[in-house]
Structures are given as C-alpha cells and as structure tokens.
C-alpha cells in the first residue's frame, strides 16, 4: 500500500498589542491572577466589546506577509461553546468573512504551503484543576489572537517543522508577535491523515502543540498509528487528540460523536469593519522586510548562503546586523563574527532569539571596521569579541589606538623582510612554486605583533618580496 501523509495546520498566534482585543486591559504576560480584567473581558452582564484597531492592522500585516488577499469588508461572529475559561460562553471570532484569505508560505524547496485564511479572535482564560478545586484566571481572556489556517499541503514531518519555523519567523519579522511557543503565544492544532493512492483518508486533529520538536514527533507517531490501523484493515476514527509529551503518544480527547455545534452567527455588538484600500497600501508600505527579502539582500552583499540563513533565523540578530551595516561595518566580517563568535556564546535558541548583548551594535561595528581596514586581523577581532561578550564594555577598552597605529605600512614591510629572512627554507619553497608555504610567514608575523597585523596586507607584501 502506498500511503502519503497529508497534514494541515491551524496556528494560533497571540498578537503583541498593548491592550486586549475588545477592552483596554493590558496583555502583559505573568501578572497576578485576575488583575488584567474588567467587565468586558470577564463577561460581566451588560458589558460590550469594542474592537482594537491595532489587532486589525496586525492581522492585515500577517496576511500581506503570507501573500493573502485582504477582505476590505469584514465582520466578527460569535462562536458559541461552553467552557469555564470562556467567560461569555462564546468566543468572538470570524466565520464566513475572515480578514485574510488565499495566501501561501514558500518553503526552501520552493514548495508552497497554502494559507486558507487568517482571522482575528479572542483568547480564553486559564484553568487549573487541583485537588477537587478548579482555579480560574481571566487575565489571558480577551488577548488578541490570529488563527492561521493552512491548506493540507504538508506532506512530511520535516515540512511541518519548516512551515512552523517559517511562520514563526515571519510573524516575528513583521513585529506582530513574539511567537514564544513555551509561553503559549504560538500554538498549533495539527491535522493528520493518510491518503491512500490519492484517496484522502479520515483525519485526526492533535490539539494545542507548543513545541516544534513535539509537533514533528506527534506527526510521526500519529502517521504510524494510522498506518497500523489501515494496514490491519481497520478504519481511522475522526477524533480530536492530545499529544502526551512524556510518552510521545497521542490519545483521544473526543470523537466525532460529541462534536461541537458552534452555532456561529454575526456578532450583533460590533459593526462590519470597512478597510479602505489606501489603508491596506499604507500598511504594506510600512511593513518591515520579510525573511526572504532580507536573505536576498544579504546575499547581494556577498555573504555566504549559509551565513545569510543563520542570520535570518532570528529577527533580533537581523536588527543587530542591520545596525552594524548602518554604522558602515563590512557585511562579510560582521556576519562571520556574529555567526562564529557571538553565536558560540549564545547556545540556546532563546538566547539567539533574544540576542541580548553587553554592547551596542555600533561598538561591534567599530571592531569590524578595524578588521575591514586591516588594522587588526580576524583572529584578534575574535579574541576581543569573546572578551567583550564576557565582560562587556567598549572596543577601546581592549584595543588601544596606539596599538593600531603601531603597525604601519613601513613596520609591516620590515616585519615581512624579517619573516622571510628567518625562514629561508619556506622562501625557497614558495619561489619553487609551492605557494602554500607563504603560510609559515604568517605565524611569524602574528607572533611578532600579538595578532595585530593585517594578514591580508602582509600577504601582499610577502608576495612582492618573494617574487622579487
């Protein structure tokens, strides 16, 4: 039998607005329970929602960044279901006219994962069950979300990972969300089915995944589980599943029989929103560069593809790197130092995402410019940078102007002459055509200058001397 994995994603992304979607309460994470609450977000009788403009703007940004069509006329609907974390017993969401539709995200392979729709909605509160008590905190209730629904275009766990990472990166780039999966500001519901010789299978939905690794594992597990059922002649039951991170298995939360009937209808407390085309154009014009665009620009600056990819993975790194470029640092050395030395000091993904350094981009740019100008060599730059990462401070704390001035063209010339004189065998090798032998002079020059000499410049001098 020929089974093919078919997977689609529903991704919830918390928008980084200052206030909630329908009231002025703060969206800040980690406050004491029920302190970011008001009549609206606790569903007090008589309270009414008032739509936050920025939520619409951010959702439009997300739509534009994923090549969606923006519906200039949009409205909100009530999704009725009852759960203690949902104070009104309905979630204000969008049903038949979402803000964004028909987009895609392109994977590195060039394959496009279709985006069916992006709509805005409100988050629910938080429940904790403990020793016969249920504790409810509504701080998160009313925090704005976008739900990004993909087409079932994903056909491997690797594609799933790439899709989520790309989506995460795009949302961070355009500044609409920090997409922290651990904190729940990005969560995925993953649909999995196996098609058999082109015939679509029954799908299951794994709810609320909050780690890329677990998503990959869950898909692998679920696909294997379904395959086993099918190969045993059984039928896959349509169901909602939860992934147990400890066991790495999925288990059923509810089956089709107790499927919800959400009774969607237009939200009568809110008006239909009309977005003028000029506004959409304005939002598009002010959008920050997307990962693909940034990568292309970096490549055009002569950065290697590998480095460009590594830089573009993190929005904060790009901001830092772009600030260096603005301070006239050379792209290639800057990229090499970031990806080599700085990344080494920031081992975790979170560290790199945050990219909190003890010095400013401008300070780093100074160091890079010394390398660019041949005033110090790359090795010394690496050593200095490592020190700066440990202790912070300014470049001038580590490299004195007089040191830099010390190695003048004349000094370098005499150093090179000394180096050749000290190693006649290498000089003979070089002259005999073994050009690699030039390397042995570099060691001498480095030792003599404490690594401060510009090896490239020295190479030019040495070549001249040796060809004379």
């Amino acid at each position: 039998m020929n089974y093919r994995l078919v997977s689609g994603f529903e991704t919830h992304v918390e928008l980084a607005t200052a206030s909630k979607i329908f009231c002025g309460c703060s969206t800040k994470f980690g406050a004491k329970p029920n302190t970011h609450c008001c009549p609206v977000c606790t569903g007090q009788p008589g309270s009414l929602p008032v739509l936050n403009k920025k939520v619409v703007e951010y959702a439009i940004r997300a739509g534009l960044a994923t090549h969606c069509t923006i519906n200039a006329v949009t409205h909100l609907d009530r999704k009725n279901y009852s759960y203690p974390d949902l104070p009104k017993a309905y979630q204000i969401s969008q049903y038949d006219r979402p803000l964004c539709e028909h987009g895609y995200i392109e994977l590195d392979s060039g394959k496009r994962i279709g985006i069916t729709r992006i709509h805005i909605e409100e988050d629910a509160g938080k429940l904790v069950h403990e020793r016969g008590f249920t504790y409810i905190d509504y701080n998160r209730g009313g925090v704005p979300l976008i739900e990004i629904v993909s087409e079932p275009d994903i056909s491997s766990p690797e594609e799933a990972r790439e899709y989520v990472e790309k989506l995460q990166l795009i949302m961070r780039y355009i500044g609409v969300s920090d997409c922290k999966m651990q904190e729940g500001s990005m969560r995925c519901d993953v649909n999995v089915s196996l098609s058999q010789d082109g015939v679509m299978g029954t799908r299951t939905e794994i709810k609320n995944m909050n780690s890329v690794t677990f998503i990959e594992r869950a898909i692998i597990y679920e696909a294997a589980r379904q395959r086993e059922i099918l190969e045993g002649g059984g039928r896959v039951e349509q169901a909602t599943l939860r992934f147990d991170e400890a066991t790495g298995e999925t288990y059923v939360m509810r089956t089709k029989e107790d499927a919800q009937d959400y009774r969607y209808f237009p939200e009568p407390d809110l008006l239909t929103v009309v977005i003028p085309q000029e506004k959409i154009d304005e939002i598009a014009a002010h959008m920050s560069e997307l990962p693909v665009q940034k990568r292309a620009r970096y490549l055009s600056l002569g950065i290697s593809a590998q480095n460009a990819n590594l830089l573009c993975r993190y929005r904060a790194v790009c901001d830092f790197f772009d600030a260096c470029l603005k301070a006239d640092a050379g792209a290639r050395h800057a990229a090499n130092l970031i990806v080599g030395t700085i990344y080494a000091a920031l081992p975790t993904e979170e560290d790199k995402e945050a990219f909190a350094l003890p010095f400013a981009a401008e300070e780093f740019a100074k160091l890079v410019k010394y390398v660019d100008g041949g005033k110090i060599n790359f090795t010394l730059a690496q050593i200095t940078l490592s020190e700066m990462l440990k202790k912070g401070g300014a470049v001038s704390d580590y490299i004195k102007e007089e040191d830099l001035a010390g190695i003048s063209a004349g000094e370098l010339e005499s150093l090179c002459i000394q180096a050749v004189a000290a190693n006649p065998a290498a000089a003979a090798d070089y002259r005999a055509g073994k050009h690699k032998a030039i390397g042995s002079f570099f060691g001498y020059i480095k030792r003599a200058t404490g690594g401060r000499a510009d090896i490239k410049a020295a190479e030019q001098v040495l070549k001249r001397l040796l060809s004379d």
């Binding site: 004491k32 009774r263 929103v273």
Partner: protein, 97 residues
C-alpha cells in the same frame, strides 16, 4: 411540528440545561408550539438563503476603531466580588453528590 425528544436533549446539552423526564414532556409541547409559530416565516421566503448576512448593514471605518492603549483594569477584589474566589482566582469546588 414534532420535535424528537432526543433532539431536545441535544439542544439542552448545547444550552447547558437539563430537564427531568416529566419536565421534558411538558416542555416539549410548548416548544413544538413555538417552533410551529416560527415556521410562520417559511411561506414568506423561498429559495436560497446562502447569501444572507445576519446583522445590520451598519459599518465602521477602520480609522474609527479603538486605539490600542492599555487602560487601568479593575481592582481584582472588584472583579472577584460577585463570585467565590481564593488567592485571586475564581474557584469552583467539586462537591460529591
């Protein structure tokens, strides 16, 4: 219009209500009457209803939406004042029947 008892139970589940057996019988009668009353609209509309939108056609321009500025929230004591709470959380204690 006859409504199946089973359907009523389904609706009650959606609405988070429960009716005792006898209560449901009594309720069923009145409910059927209400549904029959609502069926009065059927002869007035024929054909496809798929393009109909529910609400008022009134609209709001994007620029008139609320600005995103955080306002002070209510004091937690006020938020919690009408419910049972503990340590700042609303609480429900499981009671064994």
């Amino acid at each position: 219009m006859a409504i199946e008892k089973q359907q009523l139970e389904h609706l009650a589940r959606l609405a988070n209500l429960e009716f005792g057996g006898e209560e449901l019988e009594k309720f069923k009668e009145g409910f059927e009457e209400m549904v029959a009353f609502c069926d009065g609209i059927n002869h007035a509309v024929a054909g496809d209803t798929s393009s109909i939108r529910g609400v008022d056609s009134r609209t709001i321009d994007f620029e008139d939406l609320r600005e995103d500025t955080a306002q002070p929230s209510l004091a937690a004591e006020k938020v919690l004042s009408n419910g049972q709470s503990s340590n700042g959380y609303f609480t429900v204690r499981r009671v064994v029947k």
